[in-house]
């Protein structure tokens, strides 16, 4: 776990290298085995340069290598040989075994492979349309209504009295031909709002209660007509609905960019999952848990 951090520290490198070189010198020196050969060629150096600079641009690496002075090249070769020797030695000594960081790193690399393979796809118009059709709820705006109300409080009078007062008020509103903007002249102050302009069912329900929200959104409630009385927790209400906007599904043409991006992301995620599933499928999982892990 801590090894990789240690190895990334240049000074640690230096000290550890000293210790390891000593070990190499004493343990491995007599062995002239071919497997211990470190081949220094152009390919190895190019690869080394790119890893060191973390810039994976072969052209630039070649230019760098070709432009190097003899001294610089000798230093590079020495550097490469040292790293290669230490890496092989670490493997030979089993220093990589049981290292959770190395294990995680391998898992991560495999995941990256799966992700890289699952490039963000270029979708056809037809595919975008199919995604839109299957996920319409994502692009739907809620229904809304515009209404006003006249309120009679049930706080200081009985419910029956409030209903009777509201019924009388309804007659008056109708006789006066009261319009939306006249509503403020009638009734008592309601604790929330007088007018509800382009509000959702949820909003109206939270303030005026279920009965009134249902009436406001009921297609059978005629527009521009005073109706009621309806009850809320607070009293009796007469309502005038002037507009209802049904739940609207934004047409694909209007939001195609958003849908295309969503569809592509979904496709990419699915591809990653598929790729990993395929890898898992190449293994036989033996489940020795109690109950088979059902």
């Amino acid at each position: 776990m801590r090894l990789s951090a240690l190895l990334k520290d240049p000074l640690t490198h230096f000290l550890a290298a000293g210790a390891l070189l000593f070990m190499i010198a004493s343990v491995a020196a007599p062995d002239g085995d071919e497997a211990k050969a470190i081949v220094v060629d152009r390919e190895a150096l190019l690869s080394h340069v790119q890893f060191r600079s973390k810039a994976f641009e072969p052209g630039a690496a070649e230019a760098l290598l070709d432009g190097m002075s003899d001294d610089a090249r000798a230093k590079l070769v020495k550097d490469y040989v040292r790293e290669e020797a230490l890496d092989r030695e670490a493997i030979a000594l089993g220093l990589d075994a049981g290292d959770y960081v190395i294990r995680q790193r391998r898992v991560q690399k495999a995941e990256f492979l799966a992700e890289a393979a699952a490039k963000t796809p270029d979708l056809t118009a037809k595919e975008v349309a199919a995604f839109y059709a299957a996920n319409k709820d994502l692009y739907r705006s809620p229904a809304a209504a515009t209404a006003t109300h006249v309120f009679v409080s049930a706080k200081d009078r009985s419910r029956a009295e409030a209903k009777a007062a509201a019924a009388a008020l309804l007659e008056q509103l109708r006789a006066d031909g009261a319009r939306f903007e006249d509503a403020t002249r009638y009734g008592e102050r309601f604790l929330f709002h007088k007018n509800y302009v382009d509000r959702t069912d949820d909003y109206i329900r939270s303030q005026l209660g279920d009965e009134i929200a249902a009436a406001v959104f009921d297609p059978a409630t005629a527009l521009q007509e005073w109706r009621g009385p309806f009850s809320s927790d607070y009293g009796e209400h007469l309502i005038l609905v002037t507009a209802r906007t049904p739940s609207r599904l934004a047409p694909l043409a209007e939001i195609e960019d958003v849908v295309r991006a969503d569809a592509a992301e979904e496709r990419r995620q699915a591809a990653i999952d598929d790729a990993i599933d395929k890898i898992i499928a190449r293994y036989r999982v033996i489940d020795r848990l109690e109950g088979g892990g059902g």
Partner: protein, 647 residues
């Protein structure tokens, strides 16, 4: 009180203000000015890798989004009307660039490599520690930073590291301390500019006048010696124009006076206006509202003018506790003990971690200090309105007690909130599901909301959306309470919250209306908090019950009986069987003295409801966590109205 009226009699014709419905702010807008995304250093490390400004704005608008840590779908119960994404300016976006993007401009630096190594070794916490240390050191004046150590010491340290059990954190810390030039590795102006632009572009994209407002904003985060002096800076301008400058950060200067001077200069250069909003005075170690400046010198009139000009509003409640007042400062206030925060922002293990409780740490005391300083300087540096905000770091602004996503990414999972589960010093249950800003405006636009902040016609709540009106004047009478439109009366006869009244001997009267959150709990009571300047030059305070739900009287000791409680703790359930949906009153100060300067603000209390930790406990099937009240009384604090004697 009111007799039965016939329908005709109810048809009151009293519409003097009908023709000019837009003459006064008639819309109550709800929003959050303090929210962090994955571009804030701490947010990123504490498990918000993916929720960016775009996610934040979509969530605030009520759209479902994916949580950055749990990957579960999250949605607000009631959308917000405005939001300002306000990432920490210090190293904004740097961990995101380094770890998520692998940006070579950082990844190839010495410090960048070291951080990547720590992270790849699975030591996220150490990488975070190193990062925070880098910020802290960068904030330290160069003459106080540790000097670069010599090669001998460095070699000795390395040798110790090799021969003793490796402690990565200690090693990394010493390594960073050994060479101050390492701090420059993460400073990349070009990158900083691009992340600032990313947040600005998201603000531009999501702003919809009339429906939803966004702001260009950031957090200025100096924490000298563990004292939180943080400010949220919000601008009124078009976000794209804010690309002309980079957010002023603690790396520029830790002295807030330098920030205000920078605001003045930038305002003159670009035409943008700003408000700077101090927050978490409760963890400022006695410095946020001190009567001395950053360097410990007594305040001057110039200081007071500069500060009052840029800081009209304070954030009094948020996830890291409520800074209204404390029982030690307000021993006679039975509701003073509400949602404290028990730990300073302090990374040094050997330093003090407990917050102080002084008059400079709480806003009510600051309002009092302001009266005292005004008498001495002629200007009140602490003439503060009040707002709440979340300070959420998950990109998701939620102050709903039963739908609270926590402060940090990992806090979304109740098990992670247990003490010691993730972070040793703090538990997720130490966090408060708070707060929100209520704004009285004519319409939902950037200009209107910003103007309301400037004139302090804003107020704080600890999460619920109770509507509170507060007007001061000299002509209010009880008859005004039956007016069809209280606000029309309020504006015609008086001034709203945030404003001033001046008297010529007559006693003021205050028109107050509080309405419950339509989806929330009933109200217990409405109180008026008064602070005044005594003849001895010392400010004092008193809390009055002004209106309360029916069925209770004051006792012989003047104390109002408690409202009761309907909470069933095991199921985290309450009912509105007690309390009132609306409380209105015209309040007069029984102790009024026409010659004394004073301020008055309203505190409205809900009936008791379950705390966020109680909902978690119910979900886990466990008892509520120790150390936190299972039941709280959520509340609103309005901006004050200031009274001064006329001449």
């Amino acid at each position: 009180m009111r007799k039965f009226l016939t329908g005709a009699a109810i048809a009151v014709i009293a519409m003097s203000g009908a023709a000019n419905a837009q003459a006064y702010p008639d819309k109550l807008l709800w929003g959050d000015t303090h929210l962090h995304t994955n571009l804030s250093v701490d947010a990123y490390f504490l498990q918000n890798r993916t929720a960016d400004a775009d996610t934040a704005y979509r969530f605030a608008k009520g759209k479902p989004v994916i949580h950055p840590y749990s990957r579960a779908r999250m949605q607000l119960q009631t959308p917000l009307d405005f939001l300002a994404v306000s990432d920490h300016a210090e190293l904004m976006g740097t961990p995101y660039a380094l770890f998520t993007q692998g940006d070579k401009r950082l990844a190839n630096t010495r410090l960048g490599k070291r951080l990547i190594a720590l992270q790849q070794a699975g030591n996220d916490e150490d990488a975070f520690g190193l990062f925070i240390l880098a910020i802290t050191l960068a904030n330290t004046p160069e003459d106080r930073r540790p000097k670069k150590v010599g090669p001998g010491t460095a070699l000795l340290w390395r040798w110790q590291d090799l021969t003793s059990a490796p402690d990565l954190r200690a090693r990394a810390t010493r390594w960073l301390l050994s060479d101050p030039t390492l701090l420059d590795d993460l400073e990349n102006e070009e990158m900083f500019r691009s992340f600032w632009a990313k947040n600005l572009d998201a603000a531009t994209k999501h702003n919809q006048p009339g429906k939803f407002t966004t702001f260009a904003a950031w957090e200025y985060s100096p924490t000298p010696d563990g004292a939180n002096l943080h400010r949220i800076v919000v601008t009124d301008g078009d976000p794209s124009k804010a690309k002309a400058y980079l957010p002023y950060s603690a790396n520029d200067s830790g002295n807030p006076e330098d920030l205000w001077r920078w605001l003045a200069k930038t305002s003159a250069e670009t035409g943008a206006d700003f408000v700077s909003i101090p927050h978490n005075s409760n963890i400022s170690k006695g410095r946020m509202f001190a009567n001395v400046d950053y360097d410990g010198r007594p305040l001057t009139a110039d200081y007071a003018r500069l500060r009052a000009n840029w800081e009209p509003v304070a954030e009094v409640t948020q996830i890291k506790g409520t800074s209204e007042t404390h029982p030690i400062l307000s021993p006679d206030d039975e509701f003073a003990g509400f949602e404290f925060f028990g730990r300073l922002i302090e990374a040094r293990e050997d330093a003090e971690h407990d917050p102080t409780v002084t008059t400079a740490d709480y806003v009510r005391s600051a309002l009092k200090t302001g009266l005292e300083l005004e008498a001495a300087l002629g200007v009140n540096p602490f003439k503060l309105g009040m707002i709440g905000a979340t300070d959420s770091h998950s990109g998701l602004s939620s102050a709903e007690e039963n739908n609270f996503t926590g402060k940090f990414g990992f806090d979304v999972i109740p098990e992670n909130k247990k003490p010691g589960a993730v972070v040793s010093q703090l538990s997720g249950w130490d966090m408060s599901a708070s707060g929100l800003a209520g704004v009285w405006a004519k319409e939902n636009t950037r200009e209107e909301i910003f103007a309301a902040f400037k004139r302090r016609e804003v107020y704080a709540t600890t999460g619920p959306r109770m509507a509170v009106r507060f007007f001061g004047g000299f002509e209010f009478s009880d008859a005004d309470l039956s007016a069809p439109d209280l606000a029309a009366v309020g504006y015609s006869k008086g001034v709203p919250m945030g404003a001033d009244i001046a008297g010529f001997g007559a006693a003021p009267s205050f028109l107050i209306q509080a309405v419950k959150d339509p989806k929330g709990a009933n109200l217990d009571r409405v109180q008026v908090v008064k602070g005044w300047l005594g003849a001895d030059g010392k400010a004092r305070e008193k809390v009055y019950d002004a209106a309360w739900s029916a069925g209770r009287e004051r006792g012989a000791d003047g104390k109002l009986a408690a409202v009761g409680e309907t909470v069933d703790v095991p199921s985290a359930h309450y009912t509105n069987a007690i309390g009132a949906a609306e409380l209105t009153t015209v309040w007069r100060d029984p102790d009024f003295n026409a010659s004394q300067k004073a301020f008055y603000y309203v505190r409205a209390l809900e009936i008791p409801t379950p705390r966020n930790s109680t909902y978690d406990a119910a979900a886990l099937g466990e008892a509520p966590p120790e150390g936190h009240a299972p039941v709280i009384q959520e509340r609103a604090f309005t901006s004050p109205i200031w009274y001064s004697p006329g001449r």
